[in-house]
């Protein structure tokens, strides 16, 4: 197990280096006018030149990248060029907010999707058709449309939830729950829809296998066959899909965070990329790649744990 983990982490580091390098190079070629962005429309040429020198924008690519990389390797991701906030601090304060809604949405969607997928695969008939219809309908509705409907009805109309804002779990758990409920609901529709289809297809496929028929012929009850055997075999592809969806959710939560004015990574990503705040953009890239690596590693380990056949020795 340990060599496997170490190999994956090593590959992850190479991936991190490659992605950050490519990103930095791309940002370098779009950084010509960042000094102007910072100083505004009425900046004089002298001001712009001074700001470029201050931020090192007049340095060649290699020098700038080496400077950034040197800092990143020691945990210093620099400061925002627009408000001087340390990048690490900006990300650390915002990541828990994004993870709150993303992890919660993923957990809730997983449970719902599993229940719907199992019901559709086992019962078939009208339940199966209903689940497929729900999947189609939910797929057609973007999360921001759902968000606006939820806010209008449940927050503004009925006053059951706050329309905007976030309460940290540490400040007040029940207010935290209230503040993330609508954003989570907005995210889980499409997530549940596509995951339910995955669960359904995987379970149908596994139930058709010979060994499952053998288990039934030996007198095992349908529930026992389903829970102890079918789900274990059907889990890996579903988990893989969920890991992809977690990564997709990190991007998909951006609009939801804007609508609910949540102080997460989303608004920071939008603002920093729009303005050309390269230190912050690079920080977001680093964090995102690290999360992708960790999530993929966890999914592989869980898959191996659930089903010994897919373990890598």
């Amino acid at each position: 197990m340990l060599p496997f983990i170490l190999r994956r982490l090593g590959a992850g580091i190479v991936l991190l280096f490659a992605i950050t390098t490519i990103t930095y190079v791309m940002l370098y070629f779009s950084s010509k006018n960042i000094a102007h962005n910072i100083l505004g429309e009425f900046a004089t040429p002298e001001q712009i030149a001074a700001k470029q020198a201050e931020l090192g924008l007049d340095q060649p690519l290699f020098a700038r990248y080496a400077d950034w990389l040197g800092g990143a390797l020691t945990g210093d991701l620099g400061r925002s060029w627009f408000n001087s906030e340390p990048v690490l601090q900006a990300l650390s304060s915002r990541l828990p907010v994004t993870l709150s809604i993303v992890v919660t949405a993923l957990l809730v969607a997983t449970l719902l999707a599993a229940a719907l997928g199992i019901a559709a695969a086992v019962k078939r008939g009208w339940i199966d058709r209903a689940v497929q219809f729900f999947s189609l309908a939910a797929d057609a509705l973007p999360s921001f449309v759902i968000a606006i409907i939820l806010v209008t009805v449940l927050a503004i109309g009925l006053g059951l939830f706050p329309a905007t804002g976030y309460v940290a779990f540490g400040s007040n758990p029940s207010l935290w729950l209230a503040s993330i409920t609508l954003p989570v609901l907005a995210l889980i529709f499409q997530l549940t829809a596509s995951s339910a289809q995955q669960f359904r297809s995987a379970i149908i496929e596994v139930r058709r296998r010979d060994y499952v028929r053998t288990l039934r012929s030996r007198g095992l009850g349908e529930r026992e066959v389903l829970v102890k055997h079918v789900l274990r075999s059907a889990a890996p592809p579903a988990l893989t899909i969920l890991s992809l969806q977690f990564i997709g959710l990190l991007g998909g939560s951006v609009i939801v965070e804007q609508i609910f004015a949540l102080p997460g990574i989303g608004p920071l990503a939008i603002a920093s990329t729009t303005k050309g705040d390269i230190p912050v953009v690079m920080g977001i890239v680093v964090y995102t790649v690290i999360m992708v690596i960790i999530v993929n590693l966890i999914v592989d380990l869980v898959n191996g744990w659930l089903n010994p056949k897919v373990r890598v020795s």
Binding site: N33, L39, G40, E41, F42, A43, T44, Q47, A50, K51, F82, N83, S84, E85, Q89, A90, S92, S93, R94, L95, P96, V97, S100, V103, T104, L107, I148, V151, T152, A155, I156, P162, A163, T164, G165, Y166, V167, A168, F169, G170, S171, N172, W176, A178, S179, K228, R232, Q258, I259, F260, A261, L262, P263, P267, I270, A271, T274, G276, V302, W305
Partner: protein, 508 residues
């Protein structure tokens, strides 16, 4: 391990991940403090660094006003009143601006406000190269005459200096704190409030508490002031309607819902939008060098229809670039160019362009696409073929300011005449990238620069001149739609996107 235990362990891990992810995130941003003694504002922008040298104007002003006083206070109607400076005067040659200062003010870190503090702030403002540093470009130095008197030495007259000292360039930070990086995160000023760091999340929410012992308690209408960063208009609307914030800027499309929820609307005109005809010399497009062609373009645009389509009629159609609140404004110029495509064609023919010509213009995602389609269609109707080049965000602005295009649609602030000249009329103005000037306009600009009654008269003459010469094609002045709850009263601030912090008060 049995299967059931594995599932239980998985479930426990999931709950643990959830709880861990929920930890942190700093202070809470949900909910209003409630009560008439707290003010919560929805802000379109997040604060830049809190260093006063990095202060910006417009939407940023009220945030800085929480922690910093300015040398001069500009009242809602534009009058200049004492603040940290008690009075001021110009020398005869308008190159020396002397201010007498209060002697009873301290900063929140205990440092004393005096002439040395003003000098330190000025030098820091210039050196730190913030977004408003160019406003001090005519100021060579600040002399400390004595502890309570400073003199600004100018290289050339600048009639806008008192106004600059009532906003970004006038914010005074503690000289002890100015050189420390800490002031970027936590402001240290002499203002009516101090930042409550425990209730502040950078980029999301800034909370200030009333400062004890502040020298001007009349400006402290609230015990707590909170700025919630909400760049999204839908979020601001929802927060207003649900009572989470007390006031915010919305847009015409939000009006129905906001007014229906019983919110109070005030309108303010701060910007004008229209076409900038940069190539008045005809270097890129020869036709634009002819005043009749530029006038034809003015007559070809149906301003009212575009205003109705794009802003639901929330604005005022105009033919002049100077705002109603300025000394340059001339009521007789408002409809100088009426919508008259026939007249436009006639003018084009007189100029020798009966067959029209091609005009390259950039288009940006920041403006409603209807504007560009209307320009293309309406100029096309008189024979001018518009070739749009779509550019994104900052690239649009940067290429426009580089002089890559002979003309562009844009929106710009309508400040006092000297400020407007510096922005888009004068030969060195940012929005005059081709540096166009002529003897007539320059003579008028020189008179405006001297200020006073003659400066005001010259501003009016300049307005008429650039209108008749069709340097621009103004479409309309835009209504800023500001909404507030009935728990507070608000006065709009002249020539400012949002009200100053001092303009809010609990409702009686």
């Amino acid at each position: 391990m049995t299967y059931k235990r594995r599932i239980s362990a998985l479930a426990a891990a999931a709950v643990g991940a959830l709880a861990l992810s929920a930890c942190g995130g700093g202070a809470s941003t949900a909910g209003s403090d409630g009560g008439s003694k707290s003010l919560t504002l929805g802000s379109v922008v997040e604060a830049s660094a809190w260093d006063p040298a990095q202060a910006h104007v417009g939407h940023y002003i009220p945030m800085y006003e929480a922690a910093y006083d300015t040398l001069i206070l500009r009242s809602p109607d534009g009058q200049l009143e004492p603040m940290l400076a008690t009075d001021w005067s110009w020398s005869k040659d308008k190159k020396l601006f002397t201010l007498n200062l209060r002697d009873d003010v301290t900063f929140s870190d205990g440092a004393t406000f005096d002439g040395e503090a003003v000098k330190a702030n000025f030098e820091h403002f210039k050196k730190d190269n913030g977004p408003q540093a160019s406003t001090m470009q005519n100021v060579e130095s600040v002399e400390v005459v004595d502890a309570d008197t400073v003199a600004y030495h100018l290289s050339a007259p600048d009639p806008a200096l008192p106004i600059y000292l009532s906003n970004a360039a006038g914010f005074m930070g503690s000289p002890q704190a100015l050189e420390s990086q800490a002031i970027d995160s936590v402001p240290v000023g002499s203002g009516p409030y101090v930042m409550d760091e425990s209730a502040t999340i950078a980029g999301s929410q800034y909370t200030f508490k009333k400062r004890e012992g502040y020298w001007n308690p009349e400006l402290q209408k609230f015990d707590t002031v909170t700025f919630k960063v909400m760049p999204d208009t839908t979020a601001r609307l929802n927060a207003l309607v649900s009572g989470q914030i007390d006031a915010a800027l919305l847009d015409p499309k939000s009006e129905a819902q906001a007014s229906g929820a019983g919110l109070v609307l005030t309108k303010q005109q701060v910007d004008w939008q229209g076409m900038f005809l940069f190539d008045r010399a005809g270097d890129q497009v020869k036709a634009l060098g002819d005043v009749k062609v530029r006038q034809a373009i003015n007559h070809a645009i149906d301003r009212k229809s575009i205003l109705d389509a794009v802003l639901l009629g929330q604005g005022t159609v105009t033919s002049q670039i100077f705002g109603e609140s300025t000394s340059a404004f001339d009521e007789s110029l408002e409809n100088y160019y009426d919508y008259d495509p026939a007249k436009a064609k006639e003018l084009l023919a007189e100029a020798g362009y009966a067959d029209g010509f091609t005009l390259k213009m950039p288009s940006a995602t920041g403006f409603d696409p209807v504007i560009y389609s209307s320009i293309t269609q309406q100029l096309g109707a008189i024979g001018i073929t518009v070739k749009q080049e779509n550019l994104e965000g900052n690239e649009f602005r940067n290429r426009v300011l580089s002089g890559d295009y002979p003309a562009s649609y844009y929106g710009i602030f309508q400040g006092e005449p000297w400020i407007a000249i510096g922005h888009h009329v004068g030969k060195d103005a940012a929005f005059n990238p081709q540096g166009y000037t002529d003897a007539t306009s320059q003579k008028l600009i020189d008179r405006v620069q001297q200020g006073g009654k003659d400066g005001d008269d010259a501003a009016k003459e300049l307005n008429r001149y650039v209108t008749e010469q069709a340097w621009f094609v103004p479409f309309f002045r835009v209504d800023q739609m500001f909404f507030n709850s009935k728990d507070i009263t608000v006065q709009q601030q002249i020539q400012q996107a949002v009200p100053s912090l001092y303009n809010y008060a609990p409702a009686a």
